[in-house]
């Protein structure tokens, strides 16, 4: 049976989605989605262990062997991302029960959970498959689910932000598809490993160069690299609270995975970063993103938007690691991919608690919550510390590795940029801490602590932020082995 785990982790949420849409009420669909996410976590962990023991796993979908059929191919890299996806989903879904019931009409709840399950199916599908066209299909499944989820937000502006994301997301997906089409035209194959073998023979053609350009721009739209990030702040701001947490932790991360997979496995390190000037392009954009998005975050009054801009900046760190094109750089990028998901989901869940009690997440809603909601505000502060990169948190680990990678290249100025960006994070987090702990609420406070079913998932993520920040064997080990396999020229 465990031979089918690779397929089941995608099929399970995919089939649970129509079932959830059929169920009625607020508990049934939620329970189904939660159980599925827990099962996915189990599957993902089992697969990660198996990959570490046996190496790359391959699964021929429909019994058609690669490269003709669709192959599900799992190595340390995508097994790692799948664990992250399932972990975040398994923690956020229990949170979603109360949070979504408050923010969304009951008749829409089955649709919400169906869309969440489709999103999970799409995202795990992207990471599971070894077929370039299949990536596009799953990209569309996850994107369509995301548009629906964002449009479910309370604010009417959720509709326009979902529509804007729909336009940008479709452009991104189309660019990706054009890139894949050009590659198919040149090589006659869609299987990624096969593409990686056949491309070097035709690499020096204008068609392949164009394909790289389309692919990179398309994926960078999806992962919200700096000048292509405009859809993201509104999408995160107006989506329902729990959905923001899920999206912030998963969807851009999977796009980062796709970028890594194409640049390293399909095009190969020498071609992507040696022949093409991708390093300089990506490093410049990543740095601009880190500095400008952090600066914009400082001025925000809506905290969800603040965190969204901070996400754009954090994507910069990941792309920076990728663009260094060294094992150390890629390790840092993978670590930050995992760690940023942990800190951002913890922060967004804490925001969800605040929205649940205070009815909003603007800075003025933070007034005095240090006293009235001590556990929630402590969770927010802890997540903020991790975002800044204080030692003993996961944020420190990934920034440490990124700084080491930059020093390894001899790029000292990059260290300065990373430090400046981190200091900006101190500014925007501290502003909130100040309001939460030192300002008194306008009216006499009748608000009290968030319910336990919201606090527990939040604190679970906060605890992971510290646990994996102290005991780094798991994350660093997996990230290093994945990075070594990708940069070593092996599959």
């Amino acid at each position: 049976m465990d031979a089918h785990f690779q397929a089941l982790i995608v099929v399970l949420p995919l089939l649970a989605a129509p079932l959830a849409a059929l169920l009625r009420g607020r508990t049934g669909p939620w329970l189904l989605a939660t159980l599925v996410s827990w099962a996915m976590l189990g599957l993902a962990l089992a697969l990660l262990l198996k990959v570490q023991a046996e190496g790359t796993l391959s699964y021929a979908l429909g019994g058609w062997a690669a490269p003709i059929g669709i192959e599900y191919r799992l190595d340390a890299l995508n097994a790692f991302v799948q664990v992250l996806l399932a972990l975040v989903a398994a923690v956020v879904l229990p949170f979603m029960h109360l949070s979504a019931a408050q923010e969304i009409d009951e008749e829409r709840l089955p649709g919400l959970y169906a869309a969440v399950l489709l999103l999970l199916a799409g995202l795990t599908g992207i990471t599971a498959t070894g077929d370039a066209f299949n990536v596009f299909v799953f990209l569309e499944i996850s994107s369509l689910a995301t548009y629906t989820l964002i449009a479910l937000g309370q604010d009417r502006r959720a509709l326009t932000s979902a529509f804007r994301y729909l336009i940008m997301g479709t452009i991104g997906a189309t660019f990706f598809l054009i890139g894949v089409g050009l590659l198919y035209g040149m090589t006659g194959t869609l299987n990624m490993a096969d593409l990686g073998e056949r491309l070097p023979a035709v690499a020096d053609t204008r068609t392949v160069h164009t394909a790289v350009a389309f692919l990179v721009v398309g994926v960078c739209l999806k992962l919200a690299l700096f000048p292509l990030h405009l859809w993201l702040p509104n999408a995160y701001t107006y989506a329902p609270s729990a959905v923001s947490a899920l999206l912030a932790a998963t969807s851009t991360k999977v796009a980062v995975y796709v970028l890594i997979r194409f640049l390293y496995t399909v095009f190969g390190v020498e071609f992507s970063f040696g022949e093409l000037p991708l390093t300089s392009i990506l490093v410049v954009l990543a740095m601009l993103g880190m500095l400008i998005a952090s600066a914009v975050a400082i001025g925000q009054q809506e905290v969800k938007r603040l965190l969204a801009y901070s996400s754009v900046a954090q994507v910069g760190y990941m792309v920076l690691g990728i663009a260094l094109a060294t094992t150390a750089g890629l390790t840092a990028a993978l670590l930050h991919l995992f760690n940023h998901a942990l800190m951002k989901s913890a922060l967004f869940l804490a925001l969800g608690c605040i929205a649940f009690r205070m009815g909003g997440t603007r800075v003025e809603h933070f007034k005095g919550i240090g006293r009235s909601m001590p556990w929630t505000s402590a969770a927010f502060v802890a997540g903020g510390l991790s975002l800044i990169g204080v030692p003993l948190t996961v944020g420190f680990i990934s920034k440490w590795y990124l700084v080491l990678a930059a020093i390894g290249q001899g790029w000292w100025w990059l260290v300065v940029v990373i430090l400046i960006s981190s200091l900006m994070a101190v500014v925007y987090i501290w502003r909130l801490v100040e309001v939460a702990y030192f300002e008194t609420p306008a009216e006499r406070d009748r608000h009290h602590e968030a319910p336990l079913s919201l606090l527990l998932p939040t604190w679970l993520l906060v605890a992971l932020n510290f646990w994996l920040g102290i005991d780094t064997r798991l994350t660093v080990g997996v990230a290093e082995s994945a990075a070594r396999a990708l940069t070593g020229g092996g599959s």
Binding site: H4, A7, L8, V11, L14, L15, A17, P18, L19, A21, L22, Y59, A60, L61, G62, G63
Partner: protein
């Protein structure tokens, strides 16, 4: 009631012709559905044709009449059920010892199994597409009526 329905009520020719055409359209949909593996067609196209029969019904006889023929809860179940049917084939193939969606294992020989598999899968696609198209048409019609 909407103006559209009133306008159609007097249109004797339209009403008679569509009453005559709707069963033919449905029959053609079934032909496209089950002939899909040999000729042009398949579940998606058949589903759209089947839905168009119901949409013509809605345009000519009004939303309420069509809703009596195809109630919303039934459409909801069908739209999810078709997708589930598709997935179920994949799961059954797994239980029979094949990979996901490897329908060669469904029959005594691989070609028979593949015929069974593709027919059931396309049926699932057809059901989902038809019911979803009709659901969409209903949603738009309701919007128009609200105005």
């Amino acid at each position: 009631m909407s103006a559209g329905r009133d306008a159609m009520e007097g249109q004797l020719i339209l009403r008679v012709v569509s009453k005559f055409l709707i069963p033919v359209i449905m029959l053609f949909a079934l032909y496209v559905q089950f002939h899909g593996e040999y000729g042009p067609g398949g579940g998606f196209q058949a589903g759209v044709i089947m839905a168009s029969a119901l949409i013509v019904h809605m345009l000519v006889f009004g939303l309420d009449e069509t809703r009596r023929v195809a109630p919303l809860p039934v459409l909801r179940v069908l739209s999810a059920g078709g997708a589930l049917l598709y997935g179920a084939v994949g799961i059954v193939a797994m239980l029979f010892g094949g990979n996901f969606l490897d329908y060669g294992v469904l029959g005594p020989t691989a070609p028979t199994g593949q015929v069974i598999g593709i027919i059931v899968i396309e049926l699932g696609v057809g059901i989902t597409v038809a019911s979803t198209m009709v659901l969409l048409a209903f949603l738009f019609a309701e919007r128009v009526r609200e105005r």
